[in-house]
Symmetry: C2
Subunit: 114 residues, 2 copies
DNA sequence: CTCATGTATCGACATATGTCAATACGAGGC
DNA sequence: GCCTCGTATTGACATATGTCGATACATGAG
């Protein structure tokens, strides 16, 4: 294959795919933002690894070495991003992974690693 | 399948997968943090969509409606996270997607959507 | 050499985020 | 009813982040 020399007086901008929709990018960014913290990454993967994708939170502050209000703050972030759903069972809160939430992430991943 | 009733005086904590390694979570969080902004999501996908996964940046500030220093700031973040690499060609900077950088993201994605 | 172009850096500003102590609230046992 | 347990919320604090104007720097043309 012949590789053309770069024309020194112009950038290689012949190929310019359109930028993706700002709204869709904002949605994706919300999901990424929800996982832009090591504690929340560990929380999501912990829940995902259970047999049925559901876990309660009561033991997690100690396991993670964080305070209970911080724990609550992080879980709220994951719920708000749609990554998990919350169910109150008696006095305990149970969280379940929402598999669909990362569909957009998979789309981006496929683009990047095609 | 018989579904056992939840014991009202205890949480469903019989199954407790180990939390993933804090170091690995921190690495993943860095990648997610790099994409926790709509502008950077658009930038990465734009570059990924080119024929050879390479694009220059000169036209992007206008296309994105942001200033040139902001553009430079965002590209630096993507480079620092290892998502793209930068090559100077004359006066132009060209960016190339690093497909391997999102391997950890794919691992998490597979966990969440199994 | 000067000048133009493209990009990086600095500094300032406003906003966002992670943390925890204190406290409020709801469920459940007695 | 009171008390305990588990969780949510508030407020304060420190740090992180996105923005742009001004400026510095490198490349390239003349």
């Amino acid at each position: 294959m012949i590789e053309l020399d770069v024309v020194p007086t112009a950038c290689c901008a012949d190929e310019r795919p359109d930028l993706i929709d700002a709204g869709r990018a904002a949605d994706l960014a919300e999901v990424f933002k929800a996982l832009a913290d090591p504690t929340r990454v560990r929380l999501l993967e912990h829940i995902a690894r259970t047999e049925d994708g559901t876990a309660c939170a009561c033991h997690l502050p100690d396991a993670l070495g964080i305070s209970q209000p911080t724990m609550s703050h992080h879980m709220q972030k994951l719920v708000k991003a749609g990554l998990v759903t919350r169910e109150q069972r008696g006095r305990w809160a149970h969280y379940t992974v929402s598999p669909d939430a990362m569909a957009g992430v998979r789309g981006l991943l496929d683009s990047v690693t095609r």
